[in-house]
């Protein structure tokens, strides 16, 4: 991984010159361009069918498992699941838990990424390797000792504890990604700031962070999506039903009604996916235009 970072200095300017190249490249003929577009749309339509089902079934009073145009468009499915017990309270809990955990993760990951990206140390490689291996850890496997730990330190059934634990489970991959995004930010800019007397933290805040917003957005989105879908961790760590987030309620909703009320399932799925989709929309707007996460993810 030391070699990984070294590479960023070989072409220090590339992060800045990035994205521009995206749609120029070699100039294909009109025919070729048409073929490319066709293939793209073909792939996209394969992607679309399951998504289409979600939307159509949610508004269909007689939805089945296959994509069909609703005989009659209706909000009944939404009305049926939009109750405090099924939707509102779990969604709010989920937003507090996953939002809180995402913020904690991002703050810790970006802070940790800075020294990992900017300084050399004997400890760095083993540390990064450990962090990397941790990303493959199946969290369900460690929940029993975690429950014991939470009882010991009195964090069981608290949002604080659950937020901290959820944040921690997302940390390894977030640190790793953030460090890689930060490597793409050329160090020369900071050096200028240092000569002006700025501290490393000031340099991080004023120079590095603004340059790596796209990267941060990717990591935040990645973290939030992962946490938003996590069933087992909140299920084990939160005891009172009033505290449980949407990931738990949708899971039980699914297993109770699977293959019975497709329309409601689809409606609930849409509602449940909404925060993640909204977060994506907000973040992608920040990135000025369609998917310019660019320049950031790299080895």
């Amino acid at each position: 991984m030391t070699s990984t970072t070294a590479a960023s200095t070989v072409r220090p300017q590339r992060a800045v010159t990035a994205g521009k190249a995206a749609h120029s490249g070699a100039r294909p003929t009109l025919v070729r361009r048409g073929a490319v577009n066709l293939v793209l749309l073909l792939i996209a339509s394969c992607y679309l069918v399951p998504l289409l089902w979600l939307v159509l079934a949610a508004f269909n009073s007689t939805a089945g498992p296959a994509v069909t145009w609703p005989d009659r468009w209706t909000f009944d499915n939404f009305r049926a699941v939009l109750t405090p017990e099924i939707t509102f309270r779990p969604m709010l809990n989920g937003l507090i838990l996953c939002g809180g955990a995402t913020i904690v993760t991002m703050v810790c990951a970006v802070l940790a990424a800075y020294p990992l990206s900017r300084y050399r140390s004997r400890m760095k490689r083993p540390f990064l390797l450990t962090v990397l291996f941790m990303t493959g850890l199946p969290i369900t496997a460690i929940m029993v000792p975690v429950y014991g730990l939470f009882v010991q330190v009195d964090l069981i059934d608290t949002f604080t504890g659950t937020i901290l634990f959820m944040a921690t489970t997302a940390l390894p991959i977030s640190i790793w990604l953030s460090k890689n995004f930060m490597d793409a930010v050329p160090i020369e800019l900071e050096e200028a700031a240092w000569t002006d007397g700025a501290s490393p933290m000031q340099a991080l805040r004023r120079i590095v962070l603004p340059l790596m917003w796209p990267g941060i957005a990717v990591v935040a989105l990645y973290t939030f999506i992962g946490l938003w879908g996590n069933f087992f961790v909140p299920f084990v760590l939160l005891l009172s039903n009033d505290n449980l987030p949407a990931s738990v309620s949708i899971y039980t909703f699914f297993s109770q009604y699977a293959q019975v009320v497709y329309g409601q399932l689809a409606a609930y799925s849409m509602l449940y996916s909404l925060p993640a989709v909204l977060l994506y929309l907000i973040l992608s707007r920040r990135l000025s235009g369609a998917f310019t996460f660019g320049g950031a993810v790299k080895g």
């Binding site: 992060a15 800045v16 990035a18 994205g19 521009k20 995206a22 507090i96 939002g99 809180g100 913020i103 904690v104 991002m106 703050v107 029993v144 429950y147 014991g148 009882v151 009195d154 069981i156 059934d157 608290t158 949002f159 604080t160 937020i163 901290l164 800019l189 805040r205 004023r206 120079i207 962070l209 603004p210 340059l211 796209p214 299920f235 084990v236 005891l239 009172s240 039903n241 505290n243 449980l244 738990v248 309620s249 039980t252 297993s255 109770q256 009604y257 699977a258 293959q259 019975v260 990135l287 000025s288 235009g289 310019t292 660019g294 320049g295």
Partner: protein, 463 residues
């Protein structure tokens, strides 16, 4: 992508970063809620049970009992804390909670299927002293008293009812096939013959639904395989020797029966029955639609068709008939049934065991068990409840399923049972999908049980 010039917007960014940190801090401090459990607080009794499926019968029932109890015991609060999860996850969480006094509930709802495991793990406290001084305990049938008695001879739970299993059949389909409405098969062959008749005369329906495969879990073991095995004279567990039984002829015969049903396409397709939701699909969808002729299932199935439940079906009572499951060759007692059921128990780590016991006494008295057994379509474990005219009048099938109680069998629900049961499901699955023949599947089962139970295994006599 064009990057914005960073430095000029620095202050805005900084402010935002600070705000972000502040929010993080706020969220963390603001959202700490109180710890769960009931440690040391004798004014609260936490009651934990499983809340799953569309039905709210138990929730409503317990809410009623809570109000009564709180009225009779001023200053005591009943904290109903259901775990909304499938059975597996329910147990995982319950066991974790019971491990420590800080989070242990005071009253827990335990399936007889797993209570022995929790007893051996030391999670529950024996109730013998309390039971001995509780006159109503004598009102319970002796089988029910044994439902939560562990190998150490002590009793750890009070059952709130039981269930039995038998045959449901569709009289309209039977009429089309020229079969009688008061059908009662005497042997397995009778069953197969009837199923073949239906297959020939009424196309498009499932002639004979009997569960198999891993997807359905315990429904396969109990409603499917054990209903066969316990009608062969063989058994799964020898109570005298305290050993698991392998290599029995009854075992291979039962597998062979399933194979016949699935090979001749008398039952559902393997694809259907391996779907974890198949049993719900049968009872909630296919049966009301008249697509299942015969089905081996539980006494509770009509629950689905009552008004106010998932799939109201007012005509069910005239359409559906019941028959007892026959033994293999009609050997005495001529019919077979399996029983399970749930019990109320008190964890060892309960902070408020005395009030917990008071609660269990209230919920288990005649009047409450009567209400519960009617509401939840359960078979009573107290003769004074099953004999009550309001009980028999409440559901037309109550009398039939209660009549199976004298001949019913409880599972050997010891600590290893879940794993043995899983091997049963594996064996049935490999037979109905054709991945193994009967002998191989039985041999695999024997090997697996040997490795699960170690010394506590015996080979059936005569094999």
């Amino acid at each position: 992508m064009t990057l914005e010039k960073p430095v000029q917007r620095g202050t805005g960014r900084r402010a935002r970063a600070l705000a972000m940190l502040a929010v993080a801090g706020l969220v963390i401090t603001a959202c700490s809620s109180g710890g769960g459990g009931s440690s040391g607080d004798t004014s609260t009794v936490t009651v934990t049970y499983q809340q799953f499926g569309g039905s709210h019968v138990q929730e409503q029932f317990l809410t009623g009992v809570k109000a009564e109890f709180e009225k009779a015991n001023p200053g005591v609060t009943i904290n109903l804390q259901p775990i909304t999860a499938s059975e597996n996850d329910y147990y995982t969480k319950l066991q974790l909670q019971m491990r420590t006094p800080k989070t242990s509930p005071d009253v827990v709802y335990e399936d007889t299927f797993l209570i022995n495991s929790d007893i051996e793990a030391g999670y529950l406290r024996p109730l013998d002293d309390q039971l001995n001084s509780w006159p109503e305990w004598n009102q319970f049938t002796s089988t029910a008293k044994g439902a939560a008695r562990a190998l150490d001879g002590k009793t750890y739970g009070v059952p709130d009812g039981t269930d039995t299993r038998a045959i449901w059949f569709n009289k309209e389909i039977f009429a089309k096939a020229g079969l009688p409405a008061d059908w009662q098969p005497k042997t397995w062959d009778d069953l197969l013959t009837t199923a073949r008749t239906i297959k020939a005369k009424v196309p498009g329906v499932i002639p004979f639904n009997i569960y198999a495969g891993k997807g359905l879990g315990e429904a396969t073991s109990m409603q499917g395989f054990e209903m066969l095995l316990y009608g062969t004279g063989s058994t799964l567990y020898d109570n005298n020797a305290k050993k698991w039984v392998i290599g029995s002829k009854g075992f291979t015969d039962s597998l062979q029966f399933l194979k016949t049903v699935y090979d001749e396409k008398l039952g559902p397709t393997p694809q259907q029955v391996l779907d974890p939701n198949w049993n719900n699909n049968v009872s909630q969808q296919l049966t009301p639609k008249g697509q299942v002729a015969i089905s081996v299932d539980g006494s509770w199935v009509s629950h689905n068709w009552l008004p106010g439940d998932a799939n109201p079906w007012p005509q069910w009572n005239t359409v559906m008939g019941n028959a007892a499951m026959p033994t293999q060759e009609g050997q005495a007692p001529g019919k077979v049934s399996m029983s399970g059921g749930w019990t109320w128990a008190i964890p060892k780590n309960a902070g408020n065991p005395d009030k917990a016991w008071e609660f269990i006494k209230l919920i288990s008295d005649r009047q409450h068990q009567l209400k519960w057994d009617i509401d939840n379509v359960q078979i009573p474990v107290r003769p004074d409840v099953s004999g009550d005219p309001t009980y028999t009048a409440a559901n037309p099938t109550n009398e039939f399923f209660s009549s199976l109680v004298p001949i019913t069998t409880y599972r050997p629900a010891y600590a290893l049972y879940p794993r043995v049961s899983n091997e049963i499901q594996v064996a049935t699955e490999s037979v109905i999908t054709g991945t193994a023949d009967v002998a191989t599947a039985a041999k695999t089962f024997d090997d697996q049980v040997r490795s699960i139970a170690g010394d506590a295994v015996m080979t059936a006599a005569g094999s």
